[in-house]
Symmetry: C2
Subunit: 146 residues, 2 copies
């Protein structure tokens, strides 16, 4: 499974000491930074799935500071070189700690792959609005989750 055009998986620094750690997310001077629209958390309970979601204007910048989440991306963009490709990325703390950049027009769904609540942070380029996001039933695309 190769990568979808425009999707980025960026390694992030974690700097620890005996009191805790600093976990990088996104800087305005990073090459992949576009603009800031809204930051929000979303939590997902064990074994639950959410999606598909499709953003018409907003690029998503996802990190997972707690838990383990499998994101499945599906390229449904008409003119994309990688149209109809799927891509899987697993995010979490530790070795899985990285930034997932999902471009406009790439649908995504996600599943909690652990037995604890997972927390996702999205630093989206456009503030959430009902007009900007499309909810698509999980059954809409033929992905085999297990």
């Amino acid at each position: 499974m190769s990568g979808i055009d425009g999707v980025l998986v960026v390694p992030l620094k974690v700097i620890g000491d005996d009191r805790g750690s600093i976990m990088h997310v996104l800087r305005s001077d990073a090459p992949h930074f576009q603009q800031f629209g809204e930051a929000y958390f979303s939590t997902i309970l064990p074994n639950m799935m959410k999606g598909w979601k499709l953003h018409k204007q907003s690029t998503s910048n996802m990190t997972v500071p707690m838990g383990k989440v499998r994101f499945v991306l599906h390229d449904i963009r008409e003119k994309s070189l990688t149209r109809w490709q799927f891509q899987e990325v697993i995010l979490g703390p530790g070795d899985l700690y990285q930034l997932l950049v999902i471009p406009v027009g790439v649908a995504y769904a996600w599943k909690n792959e652990d037995d604890s609540v997972a927390t996702i942070l999205n630093c989206a380029t456009v503030p959430w609005s009902a007009e900007e996001v499309v909810a698509i039933p999980l059954e809409a695309y033929p992905y085999h989750w297990e």
Copy 2:
């Protein structure tokens, strides 16, 4: 203990369903939004303290999606109406879920008040740099933590 001039504690929405929740953090169209410089997590282990920190250019926008953290703010700004005041704010999920806005020049320290790791998100107005932040020893200001 009244409030320090310019410090804001903003209630945040949490929208839950049977799969998890959405927890608001910050939108670019919020009245208290200034600009985006960097988002980063910081974790703190049980019973640990960190601080004081002083930012020379950056306003901090703090939320705590996990754990329970007591922030103590100390106004050391020369021309502030509330100079030398302390202010305590406790952040966490649930009833404690809110945004804490700490202006430039207000020193702050924080303590994990729970028996689990706590995670803090800061959406700072300026990207972190060694020139911008000052570390001040905990003993520098006379605050009685217990």
